[in-house]
Symmetry: none
Subunit: 265 residues, 2 copies
């Protein structure tokens, strides 16, 4: 089956897999290079790239493609990108928080907005692996903060890896906000990165309830690593313009769907 032979003859799908591997390891691929390497015309290879891009597995650019899982856009930019919409979502999400609860907040720009929107008078304790979230909270007052340590992945903006996972095992939280890369009513919650997904999963399992806050582009999207099935998600906060069909689909799986009001101060 598995032929490790030289690029003799390769199945189309196999070729696409190799392209993905290369994308993951190098962060970019050049169409002409791969065409030569796989001994196919550039046309075929461009078709591959187009397909992969259509599935959201890479970003097509002139001359080749760039990896998408390692977000090329810096954190600050992502944070500012849909500031208004994220604020609306965050305000809706914090309504689910109760007095004295322990919250588990993952790294990510949407979650940073949620942390910023948390009310101060509730005596909340926040557990997070994201330095920026911890920083934002201790510059305000009235939060207990527990920082999860570990190796920091700059692309993610927070700690990931075995050590973080281990620390997390000591925690029991009331509410969990795992940053979602993609969520689907049938297949559940998905992440782009392997370690990141493992951590999110552990977060969900360490919490009594899970809240997923998703901007429109994450609904129905797909990513490479499964985090948890949709049944483990208790609440879903979406934007006001989310289709009714989508909301019903999630509700059918026992998810409480909350709609944020339209953006705008």
């Amino acid at each position: 089956m598995a032929r490790r032979a030289p690029p003799a003859e390769m199945l189309p799908q196999e070729r696409q897999q190799r392209v993905l591997q290369r994308l993951r390891s190098h962060g970019r691929v050049v169409a002409a290079e791969l065409a030569a390497e796989f001994a196919v015309s550039e046309d075929s290879l461009r078709r591959d790239l187009r397909e992969l891009a259509a599935q959201g597995l890479c970003r097509r650019v002139y001359g080749g493609a760039l990896s998408v899982s390692l977000p090329a856009t810096p954190l600050k930019q992502r944070r500012g990108e849909h500031a208004g919409r994220k604020l609306a979502l965050a305000r809706k999400a914090v309504e689910l928080v109760g007095e004295g609860q322990v919250l588990l907040i993952d790294a990510g720009s949407t979650n940073a907005a949620i942390a910023a929107a948390l009310p101060e008078r509730l005596g909340l304790t926040v557990v997070t692996n994201a330095p920026d979230i911890a920083l934002a909270l201790y510059e305000r007052e009235g939060f207990g903060i527990l920082l999860l340590g570990g190796r920091i992945d700059p692309r993610i903006g927070g700690a990931v890896g075995a050590q973080t996972l281990q620390e997390l095992r000591r925690i029991r939280a009331d509410l969990c906000f795992p940053g979602a890369c993609a969520i689907d009513a049938d297949t559940g919650l998905w992440g782009f990165d392997s370690e990141e997904s493992l951590l999110k999963r552990a977060m969900v399992e360490a919490s009594a309830e899970t809240v997923v806050v998703a901007t429109g582009d994450k609904l129905g999207a797909r990513a490479t690593h499964r985090i948890v099935p949709v049944e483990q998600v208790r609440h879903l906060v979406v934007e006001h313009d989310t289709g009714r069909a989508t909301r019903v689909a999630f509700a059918a799986h026992g998810v409480a769907v909350h709609r944020a009001p339209p953006a705008g101060e």
Copy 2:
């Protein structure tokens, strides 16, 4: 000095990403420099800058471009208190850092200045209990970052306590920067808080060498909790106007004293 890798063929979009990275880490870029580095004409590079500026990702200026966001966070204001003096100290302190070393950096505004002054090309690994330091480093490039978790004390701005201590036990560092509350040539290093002092002590013991960076008001002062005796301090970085008597007193205990130049760019 160390020039960048050979200008292997680069995709246009990829080039723009690199420009953004550079912008983020250096705060500014020079058109001619980048053109040479990427081996393209200045025209092409100017086009890139124009596009990025059109997307609001940078600010176009004569000769190059500037980073668009330099918002003064509350913490930075605090840091700005003695910004000039701390910058001078920090620059002197980072001269002690060698290639590929593992640094243990405690929380504190002076240490934040040191972290900001660290050069990127040395392949450094930074271990810290301070979210703001971790944040500053992963928004630049080229640092390995290990975050120490634990309960965060807002007054200190970093993790302290038993859990942090425990994580620290797994670390061996080359150089340690414990934030000093007070240092005295005879009695050694002192801290204000019990737990904080315990942590600093553990940091010193986990490192091959210790560097204390002290503004004038900390020299000869006293606090309540002893951290380590002065013999365990290898380097002391002080301001230019530190008295000769003080410097000699530390030198007599085997401490290498380094004087920072007067403040001012």
